[in-house]
């Protein structure tokens, strides 16, 4: 199940894919955003009004596939890399997938890469047709790959072939680049986290107490999954065996005034 594995199943994917008629008309956005989270850049990115305005910041995006022309503006805006543009009219037997890709190295145009499914497993070959990495994309490069049409609903990423394939792809990072930010609320970067792990703070709750990780306005929604990944690599244990730390109320920050004025039913245990 998606909730347990984090990997959408065929039914989840079919639920957000455009109709066959729409796919036959040309490029179109597919948004695989399955969890209600406080996030909305996609809804303001589209200039054609194809992504319905949100009533609540937690809403899931709804695409009006008829209005969408596949322009890809929204793709790099989504911080969750949840959007791709699919073009089933690209060639007789090939579909073109325009994917947001934040791994290093970027592939070469014209090269062949290993196509991956949503679980990260190799499922075939893909040809890199185009690589876009302009400043406007704000470090979320777009890579267009051509894949066999019958794989259009299966492929969602790729691995640059030949290289040190055993190693997992790293965060996009040049050697002299500053250490990537992990916790924006409290200004902690990857080096800070690694130092703490080396000092023996090897659980989320301990790192939290010593560094304030996860104590800021995001309450760990952004940083804790990243740190769980680091801990997993450091301890050599899968994330599923690690303690994700304690999540506590409130879910969304709320002003003390609003709470004080609450006059609904008395809350009980």
């Amino acid at each position: 199940m998606l909730e347990q594995t984090g990997i959408p199943e065929a039914s989840d994917i079919n639920g957000v894919f455009p109709s066959d008629e729409r796919l036959a008309k040309g490029p179109v956005a597919v948004i695989e955003c399955f969890q209600r989270i406080p996030c909305n850049p996609c809804s303001t990115a589209c200039r054609r009004g194809a992504i319905e305005a949100f009533d609540d910041i937690n809403d899931l995006p709804k695409v009006n596939h008829e209005k969408c022309n596949g322009c890809s503006l929204c793709v790099s805006r989504c911080p969750g890399l949840a959007i791709m543009v699919v073009d089933m009219t690209y060639a007789e037997d090939k579909a073109l997938l325009k994917l947001p890709y934040e791994f290093a190295p970027l592939p070469e145009e014209g090269s062949s890469v290993t196509a991956l499914n949503r679980a990260g497993e190799a499922v075939g070959e893909a040809l890199v047709v185009k690589v876009q990495n302009t400043p406007a994309l704000d470090k979320t490069p777009l890579v267009s790959i051509a894949v066999a049409k019958d794989l259009a609903r299966t492929v969602r990423n790729f691995r640059v072939t030949d290289d040190t394939s055993a190693e997992s792809p790293g965060i996009l990072r040049g050697d002299e680049a500053p250490s990537p930010m992990v916790c924006r609320c409290n200004d902690l970067d990857l080096d800070n986290i690694r130092d703490l792990m080396k000092k023996g703070f090897t659980s989320i709750d301990e790192i939290k107490r010593v560094s304030r990780l996860g104590m800021g306005p995001c309450q760990g929604r952004n940083c804790i999954p990243l740190v769980l990944g680091e801990l997993s690599r450091f301890l050599g244990k899968p994330v599923s065996e690690l303690d994700p730390g304690t999540y506590r109320p409130v879910v969304k920050s709320v002003s003390l005034g609003a709470v004080a004025e609450y006059d609904g039913e008395a809350l009980t245990e």
Binding site: P217, V250, L256, A260
Partner: protein
Amino acid sequence: MNKTADIVIIGGGVSGCSIGYYLLKNGAKNVVILERDYLSAGATGRCGAGIRQQWGLELNCRMSKFSCEFFENAVSELEFDGDVEFHQGGYLLLISAEAELEQMKKNIALQNSLGIASRLITLDEAKEIVPYLNTDNLLAAAFHQKDGHLNPFHTTQAFAEAFKRLGGVIETRTAVTGVTVSNGRITGVETDKGTIQTGTVVNAAGGYAQGIAKMAGVELPLYSERHNILVTEPVEPLLAPMVMSFSLNLYCQQSPHGSFVMGRTDDSQPRDLRVSAYSGFPELMSRSVTGLMPPLKNLRMLRQWAGLYNMSPDKAAIYCEAPNVSGFYTAAGFSGHGFMMAPATGQSMTELILGLTPTLPWPKMGLDRFETGELLLEPSVV
């Protein structure tokens, strides 16, 4: 894990770490701290972090003064390579009834006689310290500049690192499951990771101290009560002192990081070791705190949690060796103010265990007071 130890301390909160440090500093050897989770996992990591010397009992004043002076120099004394964030913005104790005012005058006279420079201030003076304070239901306030708040995690870490530097051993994720006694003497401690032979056990298990004592066949007159607390988003410095009201039963401070931390005592809370967050708390808390400091209405709360107050019958700590089991010592029952007393706890327990001449009033804080009736009833607690 060590198979033997001279002294085993149960509990890696601020008390256990402080006791460990003072023991080694005073010549003890082979001391092990056992902690079920990780350091500061108990009340220490959940507390309001307040440090004050404004007490109504002489012994509380002396214990807290000793501790506060320690905290002022903790970083160098413990050779800590971080900061314990001791912010001495004062404690502003709000007074709202005549009887409270009379008590406060007595307290202040006592405090002044012990070298604690607290004073009674007018509401206008209180408003100079907190300009947006709503003084409608208040009569006056007491203030002591050297009180304040301190980072519990870093303080505990500082004690723990100093303890280790002196040769102490800390085993985290090691839960004590039994305490063995033979002929009325401690012989060892059983854990989920193995057994340690020892003749001396120090029970510093906070809210779980009465349970640990039972393992050794010792009855302690303690119970644990859930206390709730919340934190807001960080904002610019707006509140220098810790504000406390005994009649509203609340305290509120702004941490150096900028978030406001506040808690409130509520008699309806469970006493069954539950530490889940109480959903009725934010409502009650925000009503009382925004009544007292209206601009706080605009602050957003981020998180609430709860921890255990380990309560003794007279709301003062118990420092003792069990009358029926020699070698079984307890430092518990802090009744909501054990964080600020941690250095005094370490010093007192060390004097008790190593048989040193008392420099602090701990001899009055044993179990026998509940037999003799010489209770230590502290008038000023939240």
